[in-house]
């Protein structure tokens, strides 16, 4: 069963083709990597998938339903959540509030019961707090729930961003360099966490990452993007030995030397 299909996706900025003719397919439950050298267009692909940019050409469909033309919040409500390469938390709010905001779309009370403080408000808030606490527990952030997000160490901010994305209860999770700035031990823990979360929440995950140990370690399939085009796809082992990939990463001469 296919969850996400991307067909002939292109995006141009002025004369620059940031993404051109990208085709991708993600099956339900897959953990797929998207790699490529700096400036290859990986984050642009994420921005297209989440509606931050509108595609110049091509189609994006989640469960056969097109997402092109929808606003980012509508796409999020359809079931795609993401994290950002340069962390975008609600930095002056508490860890708890960060997660609760993502639950907003699943709220159980209306504005009138909030203003009049009807019983439904207290029930709804309690439910939200409980769900948020469960998530923070998973990401080992429970003890910091009253801290302001910007005061967390970098690794914890990254984890909080993933927790917040999951609060939206997505089917597809897009992770943009989740391990950036983490030390090897934190990266290993993060890998464990991603695996566990995928199983526990029945998620499909697409992740951008430069840390090859992470990508090769957990991804079942990998797409390689270079100059806005998919130059290779396959299992980690296939990708490792693909001459085109080596060329993209290391330059032409080296790839000849290797092969």
């Amino acid at each position: 069963m296919i969850l996400l299909s991307v067909n002939h996706l292109s995006k141009t900025f002025g004369g620059l083709k940031a993404v051109s003719d990208v085709n991708m397919e993600l099956k339900i439950g897959e953990l797929v990597g998207l790699i490529g050298p700096n400036g290859a267009g990986k984050t642009t692909v994420f921005n297209l998938l989440t509606g931050v940019y509108t595609p110049t050409e091509g189609d994006i469909a989640l469960r056969r339903e097109t997402l092109v033309g929808l606003k980012p919040w509508q796409i999020n409500q359809k079931g795609i959540a993401r994290t950002f390469q340069n962390i975008r938390l609600f930095s002056n709010l508490t860890v708890m509030d960060n997660v609760k905001i993502a639950y907003h779309q699943h709220r159980s009370y209306g504005m009138l019961s909030a203003i009049l403080r009807l019983p439904g408000f207290y029930r709804g808030e309690e439910e939200m707090v409980k769900k948020a606490e469960d998530l923070l527990e998973i990401f080992k952030l429970s003890h910091k729930k009253h801290e302001v997000a910007k005061n967390l160490p970098y690794g914890e901010q990254r984890r909080l961003e993933i927790a917040r994305a999951l609060a939206a209860q997505p089917q597809l999770l897009l992770l943009d360099e989740p391990a950036a700035g983490m030390n090897p031990q934190e990266t290993a823990e993060l890998m464990e966490m991603i695996r566990w979360v995928r199983k526990h929440f029945n998620l499909t995950i697409l992740l951008i990452e430069h840390d090859m140990s992470l990508v090769m370690g957990i991804c079942e399939r990998i797409y390689v993007l270079d100059y806005g085009q998919i130059i290779a796809q396959g299992t980690p082992n296939e990708i490792k030995s693909n001459p085109k990939v080596i060329e993209a990463y290391l330059g032409e001469d080296v790839s000849h030397a290797v092969s």
């Binding site: 609600f90 905001i101 909030a114």
Partner: protein, 331 residues
């Protein structure tokens, strides 16, 4: 069910209710007996009106982070709308307030929808322009007296009206702010892109913020019109908008407590400075400059005064003996 009742009869709720009732009764007796003379009464009423204006602008500027500087425009609509209802059409005061406020809220939607594509400075300029448009339009309508304004409005605004509406405004906005809908507004202020990708319909919440802000500005306008007998377009010029903006910025963008404190303090200050008319604006401006230099985030930042915050502050003081900044007293 008992759990639910506990929520309503929390100690803090009871204390706040008692405090509100005592304050109301004390001032009411003071006015009735003449202990509070007309001068103090005037300033007391101005404080209430300014609190309503400040907390309502705080929804737009502080909570949602949309910089609007045309708030006096909404106030003007409330003032004129209510005055037309009571003076020209002979409806009771309550109808006047409601019509004024709803008319202002509709204008809030009207301004909100097209201008919310704008950000930062551009939005500020657009709202400033909107405030001026309202003033000029009113200036040119003969039905409401043009430049001479509307005269002979009955003085319906008394202490029970103004006090209860101030309390209701603050409560409604506080309840909104601490709900999931309020958090949606705050998330727009914190990071618009993140809010949108987390499923928040940002246009909707910006319009809600504008509408609510305008509604309560309309209430303030209605109270104003029915206290001063007369209203003129010049009263609601951009200087008035800036006055309101100053309360919000000085108190701390996003802090309700801050808005209330700043509106009260600055109203008292300008009452005292009335005798030195020529120095008034100089002192006022100096104060602002000093506060902005020392505390650019405003007196309270985004913090609020709450019972939980106070309790946490004291437990931290006694528990760990760790020196906590004044920010932790508010939470």
């Amino acid at each position: 069910m008992t759990e639910m009742l506990k929520q309503y009869f929390k100690l803090s709720n009871i204390l706040v209710t008692v405090a509100i009732l005592v304050l109301f009764a004390a001032v009411n007796i003071g006015i009735e007996t003449g202990f509070i003379d007309d001068y103090y009464k005037l300033n007391l009423f101005l404080i209430c009106i300014n609190i309503i204006l400040a907390v309502s602008l705080n929804i737009i500027n502080g909570m949602t982070g949309q910089f609007s500087i045309g708030h006096a425009g909404f106030m003007a609509i409330g003032a004129y709308g209510s005055a037309i209802m009571t003076l020209k059409l002979g409806y009771p005061f309550a109808v006047g307030i409601l019509v004024g406020a709803v008319a202002a809220a509709l204008c809030g939607i009207l301004v909100g929808l097209p201008t919310l594509r704008l950000k930062g400075d551009y939005l500020a300029i657009a709202t400033l322009g909107f405030g001026e448009i309202i003033r000029v339009v009113i200036l040119n309508i003969d039905y409401v007296g043009g430049a001479a304004g509307l005269n002979g409005i009955s003085q319906y605004t008394d202490w029970p009206w103004i006090f209860s509406l101030t309390v209701i405004t603050v409560l409604v906005i506080k309840n909104f702010m601490t709900s999931t809908h309020g958090r949606a507004c705050i998330s727009i202020r914190e990071n618009e892109i993140a809010a949108e990708t987390m499923g928040i319909d940002i246009t909707r919440y910006k319009v809600i913020a504008f509408t609510m802000g305008a509604f309560f500005a309309g209430v303030a306008g209605a109270l104003h019109a029915h206290y001063f007998y007369t209203i003129q377009p010049t009263t609601f010029g951009f200087l008035k908008s800036f006055d309101i903006l100053v309360y919000v910025v000085l108190g701390g963008l996003g802090s309700m407590t801050g808005s209330v404190i700043a509106a009260t303090g600055l109203t008292i200050l300008s009452a005292y400075l009335q005798d030195y008319a020529e120095l008034r604006m100089v002192i006022y401006s100096l104060l602002l400059i000093v506060v902005m230099l020392v505390r650019p985030q405003g007196l309270l930042g985004t913090a609020e005064l709450s019972f939980d915050g106070i309790r946490r502050f004291f437990s931290r003081q006694t528990g760990k003996g760790r020196g906590a900044g004044n920010d932790s007293a508010v939470g």
